[in-house]
C-alpha cells in the first residue's frame, strides 16, 4: 500500500534522518522525497510503500505523529489514494 508522509514544522537539524530511521525500523520503504523550506517552515513530502510494514497502519500513524510531536513537527501518513482521488481526473 502506497502512502504519503508529510512533515511540516520549523526547520531543524536531523528531521529527515529521524523520520527515515523510524520508517526503516518499521520496514517502510521510501520511494520518493521532496522538500522545501519556506520562511523557516520546513515541508517534506515522502512517497512510501507500507505494504511490508511490520506494524498496522494505524500504529504507524500514531508512532509518526508521536515522533513529530517531540520535535514540534506535524507528521502524518495518509494513503496515497485520497490525493489521487481529489486531484486527478
Amino acid at each position: 500500500m502506497r502512502a504519503i508522509v508529510t512533515v511540516i514544522g520549523r526547520d531543524q537539524v536531523g528531521i529527515i534522518a529521524a523520520v527515515c530511521a523510524l520508517l526503516s525500523e518499521k520496514n517502510v520503504n521510501v520511494l520518493d522525497i521532496s522538500q522545501t523550506v519556506l520562511q523557516e517552515y520546513f515541508t517534506m513530502i515522502m512517497l512510501v510503500d507500507a505494504s511490508q510494514a511490520t506494524v498496522p497502519f494505524a500504529r504507524l500513524r500514531e508512532d509518526l505523529a508521536e515522533a513529530g510531536k517531540e520535535r514540534g513537527l506535524d507528521v502524518r501518513v495518509q494513503r496515497e489514494d485520497i490525493f489521487d482521488a481529489m486531484h486527478r481526473i
Binding site: 504519503i4 508529510t6 511540516i8 520511494l31 520518493d32 521532496s34 522545501t36 515541508t43 513530502i45 512517497l47 497502519f57 494505524a58 500513524r61 502524518r76 501518513v77 495518509q78 494513503r79 496515497e80 489514494d81 485520497i82 490525493f83 489521487d84 482521488a85 481529489m86 486531484h87 486527478r88
Partner: protein, 452 residues
C-alpha cells in the same frame, strides 16, 4: 508523485476548513422482519440491525485512520417502520422504536433513521399507528429519528396528514419540554422524500433499495467558503466555476471512502450525497458562503439568488466526480446548525419568510427552526402545507423540521448541543389558519405530474 501543493491543499482543507465525511450510513431492509407477534418482530429487527451493522463503526474508524480524513458520524437507516409494523397485531408502535434504539446503541452508531411513514396519498392503519406513536417514541429513545412524507409531485398533498403532523409536532415538543422540545429535532415532515438520503433526521431505507447498502454523505461549507475568498469581486461565472471545482474534489473523496467502506463491509455501494451541511463551528457555515458572494448578511435581498447558484454549482461538481450522486445533494440551510444563520436570525436579518423563499432553491427545506412554544398546531400544519406546496410544484424535496419550543418566546435561544446547535426562537405570522387546515382532504397533484 503528486504535486506538493495538491497534497498540502488537501491537508489544509482537513485541518483548517472542516472538510470531512459527514456520515457513512448503512441502509438496511427490515421487510423480512414482519411478524404478527410484535415482540417477535422487534426481536427480528434488533437481530437484523446488529448483525448487519456489526462492523460499521470499526470499519469507519479504520478508514479514518488510513486516509487521515475525519468520518464524523456512522449511522443506520431502515425500511419505514410503518411498513414493517403494519403486519403486527398491536396498536402500540413505541416498542419498535425502542428496538431500533437498543440495536443502534449496541453497534455504536449515533443515529438511526426510519421510524417513518409514507402517506403522500393516503394513510394505512399502520401509518396511523406509527404517527400516533411518534411523540412518545422520540421522547423515550435517544438516537431514533422519524420522518413522514406527506406529499409528492405525483400524488399531491395529503392535507389530513398535514393536519395530523402539526398536532404531532406540537405533542412531540410538549413530551420533551424538559429538553427544549428536543423530540422535534428528530422529526422531519417531507414532500418528495428520497429513498437513499444518508443524512439525519430524514434518512430511511426506501422499499426500492437493496437488502443492504452503503451511502456516504460528504460536506465542506468551509472549503467552499475558503475557495471563494480567492475570487473576491469577480463575476458569478467565476464563482460558479470555483464552487464546481471544489465540489468535485470533495465528492471524489466521498466516492473513495464509500467504495472502500462498501468493499470492506461486503455491502453494495449506493450513492454519494454531496450536501453542504453546516455545523455550529465557526468556519463551517453555509450562510457565510452566501455572504462571501457580496451580501452584508444572510437574509438580505440577493440571498435566494446566491443560494440558487451555490446549490446548482455543488450538484454540477458532484455529478462530474461520481456516477452515483444521489440523496439530497446541494446546500442545507438548518438555522440552529449554522453559525452564520444563527447570527443572521438573531439580528432579525433572516426571517421565516426569507427562509421559505430560500427553500425553493436549496436542497431541502425549513430546517431546525425554533418558533414560540405557543404556536398553534394549525399554524405548524400551515407552514408544512406551504413548504410541501413548494416541493410539489417544483418537483424537489422539501421538508419541515420545526421546534415549537415549550415556554419560549421570540428572542429566546434553545440549546440542543452538539451538531444540532442552538436555535434562536423566530417569529411566525399570527393570522389563523385553523379553518384552512380543518378542511382536510387532498390538494391535487399539479398539471405537470401528468407526464405519461
Amino acid at each position: 508523485m503528486i504535486n506538493t501543493n495538491d497534497i498540502l491543499q488537501t491537508i489544509q482543507m482537513i485541518d483548517h476548513q472542516h472538510l470531512d465525511i459527514r456520515t457513512i450510513t448503512m441502509g438496511i431492509s427490515l421487510l423480512d422482519c414482519c411478524d404478527p407477534d410484535p415482540h417477535a418482530a422487534c426481536r427480528k429487527i434488533y437481530d437484523k440491525i446488529t448483525t448487519s451493522a456489526e462492523k460499521l463503526v470499526k470499519t469507519g474508524e479504520d478508514i479514518e485512520a488510513e486516509f487521515g480524513i475525519p468520518i464524523v458520524n456512522k449511522r443506520i437507516s431502515v425500511t419505514p417502520i410503518a411498513l414493517v409494523a403494519g403486519a403486527s397485531r398491536t396498536t402500540d408502535y413505541v416498542p419498535f422504536a425502542a428496538a431500533m434504539d437498543k440495536a443502534a446503541k449496541a453497534v455504536g452508531v449515533n443515529f438511526i433513521g426510519g421510524f417513518s411513514a409514507l402517506v403522500q396519498k393516503g394513510m394505512t392503519e399502520g401509518d396511523k399507528k406509527l404517527i400516533a406513536a411518534i411523540p412518545e417514541a422520540l421522547a423515550v429513545t435517544d438516537v431514533v429519528c422519524s420522518s413522514v412524507n406527506v406529499g409528492s409531485t405525483k400524488a399531491g398533498i395529503n392535507m389530513d396528514a398535514v393536519a395530523l403532523m402539526g398536532r404531532t409536532i406540537k405533542s412531540a415538543a410538549e413530551r420533551t419540554a424538559d429538553r427544549g422540545g428536543f423530540g422535534c429535532a428528530k422529526l422531519v415532515v417531507f414532500c418528495n422524500a428520497v429513498e437513499d438520503n444518508p443524512f439525519m433526521a430524514g434518512a430511511f431505507h426506501g422499499v426500492g433499495e437493496a437488502e443492504r447498502v452503503i451511502n456516504v454523505g460528504v460536506s465542506g461549507p468551509g472549503v467552499v467558503h475558503h475557495a471563494l475568498q480567492s475570487v473576491k469581486g469577480q463575476p458569478f461565472d467565476v464563482v460558479a466555476e470555483t464552487i464546481k471545482k471544489t465540489a468535485f474534489q470533495v465528492t471524489r473523496m466521498g466516492q473513495l471512502v464509500a467504495r472502500e467502506a462498501s468493499a470492506r463491509l461486503g455491502v453494495p455501494f449506493g450513492i454519494v450525497d454531496l450536501s453542504l451541511a453546516p455545523t455550529p463551528a465557526v468556519g463551517d457555515s453555509v450562510a457565510r458562503i452566501l455572504e462571501e458572494m457580496g451580501l452584508e448578511v444572510c437574509g438580505a435581498h440577493g440571498t435566494t439568488a446566491a443560494l440558487a447558484l451555490l446549490n446548482d454549482a455543488v450538484k454540477k461538481g458532484g455529478v462530474m466526480a461520481s456516477s452515483s450522486v444521489g440523496g439530497l445533494s446541494g446546500a442545507f440551510i438548518p438555522v440552529s446548525e449554522d453559525e452564520g444563520m444563527i447570527a443572521a436570525a438573531q439580528s432579525g436579518a433572516l426571517t421565516l419568510d426569507k427562509l421559505e423563499a430560500m427553500t425553493c432553491v436549496c436542497s431541502v427545506g425549513l430546517d431546525m427552526i425554533a418558533v414560540p412554544g405557543d404556536t398553534s398546531a394549525a399554524t405548524l400544519s400551515a407552514i408544512i402545507a406551504d413548504e410541501a406546496a413548494i416541493g410539489m410544484v417544483n418537483q424537489k424535496t422539501t421538508a419541515v423540521r420545526i421546534i415549537p419550543a415549550p415556554g419560549k418566546q421570540v428572542g429566546d435561544i434553545v440549546e440542543f448541543g452538539g451538531l444540532l446547535g442552538s436555535a434562536p426562537v423566530m417569529p411566525c405570522h399570527t393570522g389563523s389558519a385553523e379553518e384552512f387546515v380543518a378542511r382536510g382532504g387532498r390538494i391535487p397533484a399539479p398539471m405537470h405530474s401528468l407526464k405519461n
